[in-house]
Subunit: 356 residues, 4 copies
């Protein structure tokens, strides 16, 4: 297969760098364009980017010239696909201009809540992909825009999916303990985090609540009908570099014991393996269950499955909802599964299904 | 008033040191006895204790000789009251021997779940104090044993109290993010906490669930009837020195808006001021409400009210239970309000009410 | 004594808040003016300042109106003294305008390296104070500008002073491990500090090297002659909130054993007690020696002496310089001793000596 | 080449696990034996070891049975080489028993200071390897014991080596900021490390001072003559998971500018590439020089060269020794280069040179 020519928008920031790490050496994609703000124009990537990863910057990437994202539209024909790490504020205005011509896969929130835009997570809602055709028709676009969910939503919906499919869900309460990298760089001042935590993340709770019911919704009649259960969240920031931990309480429609959940996860993993096991970024196990009483832990478990597995632990019957209640914790790597690498997986799925 | 002569059991450990800090210079108590394990017998306190506080060890305390806790019963007549920081494992067996003769106020869990033992928090359940008379009669004791709740329970029950009294409670979900000092010293290895968190604390969830409904229960017919709502918790450990943060979701009987909760807190604070404002360790405000969107924070807010105020913030209507649902975060200083200083407040109340 | 009316310049920032903490309730000063950037003008202090301290903002201060620092000169007659926490970049230009009229005591570096300006630390170089008269004459000022040293210099010069006076110094090597608060707010991003440290602090090493020999210099002929030994530093930032730790190696002129140093410290403390013990901000012991092998530690020892004591530990004979070599570590509270509270002590000294 | 059969002693602890990570999948070695304390005997490795790495435990290793290290001597003929992570206290007594029969490579300190034992770091003192023959003869052993240096010594001697060879060294001052993993598990309590640092590590300074002059010594007349310069250290512990940072001041015999040092490093790297580039664990660059003013940083740079490169930065002319003085910082991965993986490199060298 000829590799797709990929351009990264907002390539020098933290999220853009994660796209580069997810795409570099990828069997299906070749990074041929890097775009950032006017300030970076004409510089090499090495000059323009403060590199955050402990993996060294790939030398070929380091030598590439960075273009001005404002002029990137002029080059639209040179690429097969755009990966966008644009700030959410500008994503809504800019991403559509690219989507009119080419596929654009995004970590930004600008398009997530549009009716004709799927928030695509293959293992959760591959069935939403045809909404892309609706989008193209409605907007007269040759390309499309497909965002992924917020990094906090990701671990929630993947861990809920086997419950929802087998037992139904009535209510969800979630408290997150989120990693610093979720705020980008510079993000939280160290003075706010050492011997401290922050029980607030701007706009995060609303995003998670909205995205959970949309991603778990049903596709039909050219639209997605949101899942019918309410979600309530409190989001907090803790002194962890990578890996969002979620404490989740679920009320189910049908009784669901911890072992029922474990069995549903095994079945779900098997189904994911069949459906997506051929995609290069798919992990061997979509959900890894940890049975040790004090796991998952961010530092030890966030990189399981190449950072693409959701790690679930402390599965217990809940004291409030009894046989209809489950509580557990879930860990998801926010800059891999919950951002760039998760989006690359979505792009792989769309290629395989012929969307580009 | 003649100062009560107080002995501290397990005086050299972290919890014992907190008793010393809470009692030193106290207008109603004088520390006249310090007891620890056989290993410390005969040493001065300065020799026997690795001092953790950033306040220097008081010189008079430093010079005191430490006795063997196994032989402390021989000295029982020298003291008016015992403050026990014994490990929970041994508290059940040992504390009763002292309680047979003298009042013993404890941070340990050994007696908490006995039917004739109140878990006494003046602002929550002063009405449970008469259970002490039941205890004395049933056991033929001249003294008594009164424990306080677990440090995590404390912030939960104080913040729930105004809700419970005004609106009734149907269900509670709580996720804690607990401080390191809650595990004593040495507690968690740094390798488990730097760039990490632990989503598990042994036995903590069961304790909190049990103690919440007991402390909020009604006293009548010489017994406490547990409050009638279920509580479900997930307890985690984060990289914070002091101050347990709780993320709480409550379903109420009657509708309760954030402003209703605020009003109930104001009324509650006023009632506490009237009832307990004369007690030396009582804070000016039992609950402090923070309206900034990112507060409370452990490092900035844990010492409010001398570490005795519960700090509530992020009060919101909950998306799941709607008008019957509240969510908020609460911060409580685990080694002050949630342990020694909180117990000293209980002792002050019992003195004022004539229990000793 | 009538309290001096004090105005704080740059009162809303982290350093300005420390002046407020050091001056509030002070027996000799009354805070009657607060100035900050134009953006804060007309707001109450509570509205204008994001308060960092875990001590609550004093209510009288909270209600004060903040003035525009650009217009503060108009009010110069209302105050007896100015305390300046201005950013170093603007301090050089602005502070002199105030100094022309009134005493201005500063934490900024703008004036530190001027020949007619003492970097005043009473316990180190009270004898430099007369340079103020030189300054007033040379510049035709009625007031004056007196800065304190950099927060990292402070612990170095106080711990060197007894060595220098008794044994002479040939060479000094110092590696600092500095606290986050030294960088102000927001300072270092948490992503750079969690599971990490930064072996660089902009301009810090040069400042420390210069200020050490100036503060330890001799005053004579209306000028300060720098001390005649070279100093070499490497400055680093670590995950500590407050308290700069220094690892120091000194070559002395005369032989100096650890016990010689201890004796010199005792004598020095005694001399300081006599000379400065009447000043409200002076600590009981200028230097506290910790003999435990693993002390001082920032969290446990930084607040000793109200944050004004320098805490020295691990005093050892050095393997390189032998009988002429000492090595030790020193801890100094960077926002108390090393900044506002240290400057307030200098102001107290200048009042007592009749400089204002 | 037939793979050497390797047994790991003390295989379940933190250091033993690092040997497993360094040896698993190694082209020259096969792990065929795992030994630990009696308590682990007969268990599978998965049952016996609390696994610390974020790389999952290799399944083949997980299934292996763990033997009792006290009985391992009985199996001595089954192995070609022993890798020992024994605690230093027991290493002296036990390692010799194995060394009598087979090569034993160790991270422990028990044998380091014996006259007939080289502390072998190929890039520093490959020429010391013949001391093994002296050892075998003197002790009548068929095997031998070869330890590596302390993890803190490693970054010091590698970074000094090009200076020593080109310019000579008169004096060295070093302050370390060491990672938590250097203390093993559980190591430092989190309560001692969050918002804190510890300016002391038991016995570390003496080890580093001794080992530096031994490893940089000259081999001749069947013995190593220590290098003739004194070293003085202060060792501290900071809140970093992996990666020891060293702040180093060196006085040289001949003048040495920062660029002289850079040139010497380039030459040294080239020489190492030629001499050791064929060894599987050797990094592409023995020393990596970082020119950014705030590098190296532990989290970003410790894994460079697979954790085997020493990363040097902040190279400056020193203010004390002038043209004869250099100061710089060096970062070395303490559990890779400074422990197991470094020892595996030494073993590779000894195989290539025919020592086993």
């Amino acid at each position: 297969m000829q590799k797709r020519k990929a351009a990264v928008l907002a390539a020098t920031g933290a999220a853009g760098q994660q796209f580069i790490e997810a795409l570099y050496g990828h069997p299906w994609f070749e990074i041929t364009g890097l775009y950032a703000s006017t300030r970076s124009e004409g510089k090499t990537y090495a000059e323009a980017a403060k590199w955050f990863s402990s993996n060294p910057m790939p030398p070929e990437i380091a030598r590439m010239k960075v273009g001005d994202v404002e002029k990137a539209l002029n080059d639209v024909d040179q690429y097969d696909v755009f990966f966008s790490a644009l700030p959410s504020e500008v994503s809504k205005e800019m991403e559509g201009k690219f989507g009119a011509h080419k596929p654009l896969i995004s970590t930004a929130s600008g398009f997530r809540y549009e009716n004709d835009v799927p928030i695509l997570v293959p293992e959760v809602n591959a069935e939403h992909a045809p909404l892309i055709r609706v989008q193209q028709q409605a907007r007269g676009w040759k390309g499309f825009v497909v965002p992924g969910p917020n990094c906090t939503t990701m671990g929630l919906i993947i861990s809920l999916k086997p419950i929802y499919d087998h037992f139904g869900i009535r209510r969800v309460f979630m408290t997150s303990m989120q990693a610093l990298s979720g705020a980008g760089y510079p993000g939280n001042p160290a003075l706010d985090i050492v011997d401290n935590m922050i029980p607030f993340i701007a706009k995060e709770e609303g995003k998670v609540q909205l995205e959970t019911v949309k991603t778990l919704g049903k596709f039909g009649d050219n639209a997605v009908a949101n899942a019918g259960f309410p979600v309530s969240c409190t989001c907090t920031r803790v002194a962890v570099i990578d890996g969002h931990m979620l404490s989740i309480f679920v009320e189910t429609d049908k009784p669901c014991s911890p072992d029922d959940y474990r069995a549903a996860i095994r079945e779900y993993n098997e189904a994911c393996r069949k459906a997506f096991g051929d995609l290069p970024s798919a992990p061997a196990e979509t959900i890894i269950v940890k049975e040790e009483e004090n796991r998952p832990q961010p530092r030890l478990d966030r990189d399981l499955g190449g950072g693409m597995s959701t790690v679930v632990g402390r599965i217990r019957q809940d004291e409030v909802f009894g046989a209809h209640g489950l509580k557990y914790v879930a860990l998801s790597h926010n800059t891999k599964r919950g951002a760039a690498k998760g989006e690359v997986l979505a792009a792989e799925y769309l290629i395989r299904e012929g969307y580009f």
